[in-house]
Symmetry: C2
Subunit: 77 residues, 2 copies
């Protein structure tokens, strides 16, 4: 999954160990999704994508350390 | 964070190590949020909540192992 992390940081922020928040338009999202799909072992690994949409800032709430990142659009986990 | 996990599984599904998908109405969400806030050390720990809304099923995409969970409404990470 290190490979996946390496890819994801190119497009966004790591907010937790296996959680990345990325700003991607629809086309870029599909491109990244395909890249990640080729990296992982689909029998063993899993990826969840949460599409927050343009209004993402109102959909993310943060409590605790490391104040919120300015995330946009798509979330890749 | 084990306490947080213990709480979260009462309301939803663990989809990854530190990712839970929960179905909560607005009032229940605030209640859970407060509970979790009291559990964590806000100086050290962090919680991110992603509110997917009623149309959540169209906002979650899964690739790989462990087919998608039937998540609803709010996501707690």
């Amino acid at each position: 999954m290190r490979q996946v992390a390496k890819q994801c940081v190119n497009y966004g922020q790591r907010v937790q160990n296996s959680v990345f928040e990325c700003v991607l338009d629809a086309a870029k999202f599909r491109e990244v999704q395909h890249k990640l799909e080729k990296i992982i072992d689909v029998e063993k690994d899993s990826l969840r994508f949460y599409l927050l949409g343009n209004n993402y800032k109102n959909k993310v709430e943060h409590i605790g350390a490391k104040a919120s990142f300015d995330v946009e659009d798509t979330l890749i986990i």
